[in-house]
Symmetry: C2
Subunit: 385 residues, 2 copies
Amino acid sequence: MRVDGPAVMRRIARVVENGRRHYEDLFADDAGVAIVREPARYVDGRLVVDGTPLVPVGTPTVLAVGARPAVAPLPGVGEVPFVTSDALLRMEDLPSSLAIVGGGPIAVEFAQALRRLDVPVTMVIRAELPLRGEEPEAREAVARILRADGVRLVTSAHGIGLERSPHGVRVRFDGGSAEAAHVLLATGREPTIADLDPAAAGIELEDGGARVSPTLATTAPGVFAIGDAIAGDHRRYQFTHVATHEGPQVAENALRGAAHAPGYAAMPRVTFTDPEVAAVGLTEAEAREHGHDVHVELKLIRQLGKARAVGETEGFVKLVLDRGTQRLLGATVFCAHGGDMLAELTIPLHVHDGDLAPVLATTFAHPTLSEGIKVAVRNALGRLA
Amino acid sequence: MRVDGPAVMRRIARVVENGRRHYEDLFADDAGVAIVREPARYVDGRLVVDGTPLVPVGTPTVLAVGARPAVAPLPGVGEVPFVTSDALLRMEDLPSSLAIVGGGPIAVEFAQALRRLDVPVTMVIRAELPLRGEEPEAREAVARILRADGVRLVTSAHGIGLERSPHGVRVRFDGGSAEAAHVLLATGREPTIADLDPAAAGIELEDGGARVSPTLATTAPGVFAIGDAIAGDHRRYQFTHVATHEGPQVAENALRGAAHAPGYAAMPRVTFTDPEVAAVGLTEAEAREHGHDVHVELKLIRQLGKARAVGETEGFVKLVLDRGTQRLLGATVFCAHGGDMLAELTIPLHVHDGDLAPVLATTFAHPTLSEGIKVAVRNALGRLA
């Protein structure tokens, strides 16, 4: 199959643009919303756009200004052309070859997608496996699948640096190198809030993001921050749905003096590889670090009739429970469209504090992949009873 | 694309056989299970195989003998060769063309699957739309999708009859006919329990299935029935997961004198078309018949970012709520792998009696198709508040 690169990139641009327009249309329907497209910054405590104050001083404010790709200070990074994930999505054609530095969700998503679009891909990561923070079984499987897709995956790479090469860029590392037409730096995302000159409003930053209270108040009265604008540990939660979770609560804090403190214990995280790595709560290692006496339950997807019928046999459901309380602490659903099923475990984790009785009591349709969740729950509770 | 029919049929046979063996292996691992492969029947109140009593009189018994395709008494049905769904799955090659009589889940699943395998398919149904009992929006969409796939769908057909034709079979109906090499009769499934000669044990049948009490006791002491062996209204629930739901409860009834009465209010049903029609609880029409003041919430899948990104934009989430209690009465998730997401609504319907607060409180991952469920819930509760 020959891939029509420009057509692929046009489709991406169209989907992104349609998504943007969809949300703008939602706002346009609401008479109370004004959209201002110019950059804003704080001057003397007031948010100013193009020299004009945007709102009266003291107007309750929620800063949801997001993040942009961070550029790691690799040797040579200043001397070579590189792309970030944002820039790669705006290219007019697929790269003729790609090196990727980084092993997080964005890195593995791009590596697999571009490789399956027939782009030669080399991925160079410092860790032994991609997707730090996820379950080792998922990390090993993703590495295996990327390699099966044809990605050259270089792990445990030390001394990573960049230099120009005759046909593009060379990624050097101790003991080897990789050449490609382009290099994607997928080394995290950093808050853009500093662009607002927040100090001029008394908004303190920390590690590049807003320092916030549990109710997401910044250090400036009446100013709140949500999503990727926030500093520190919150960076574990760089997901759109986290800001969506925070937004309504913080709006009430800002406008009505409420004191909602958004919780993060049941915040889902999904890496959109094929299959998807969908997870919520603590990993097994995190649960042990927290001192739990841990029971682990693993159900392989290939043992499900639906998986064998549709040929989507890769993956597993992994549950991490506390032996004493028999409650769920965390889960990974690693299988085709796992992200769509994760809420079946997020609901008991969030609403029932990990009590799995509601899942056990519920009949799951047969034959489905979601039966893997039900069977894992039944097996775990049966073994702990 | 040329379809290799024999290869397709060999794969089906392999998947079916592997599934059967998987479950047999589960039993083989358990020393307490004996598998007897010969037909059994009741003689003088005892279950007898090949002339030998199988178990002592009075042994607690659960009859889970299932169903087989029912052959509707259509004019001409005795004079033509026809296949049932079971027989079609055992064919060595795909039919060169197929007529289907019937419009239920099995009929539409086979129609779409075979058409997509390039088999010319005509489907003849008595109703105005396929999938009686499901929401009209889903039924209309399935009809549209079948036609878009190239299925000739004849609806509101009266006077359906069969006759031989030079190249196979002709399905006649008032005002027209359809010829095909084979005809699939997909006109329901009937219990096989009569083969056991149940009257010889005092087990009364009704409409071909076992008459049971709410605890699924038959009219013979110590004998219970589950799944498709049961008569009457239970035939709405001809699903494997229903027997799985009943089995453990009835085993306790039989062995320990428990009195579990399985409930069916939150029994999922899935039709495995593309997209899947996944539903639970009451349809809008059923809710109105039950006297509810109904609120309907519809969220279109194409409004979701993930749907547009992956190109799976067909479908909707439909919620049926009682206006007064604001509780969920039923739901249809009609979208790609909808069956895998249905438990996100089955849990609140079954465990919380339709209270949707747990779903509203839970953060769903973005971007996913399951967000359609979350958004529909949020919109419904927002409008009813």
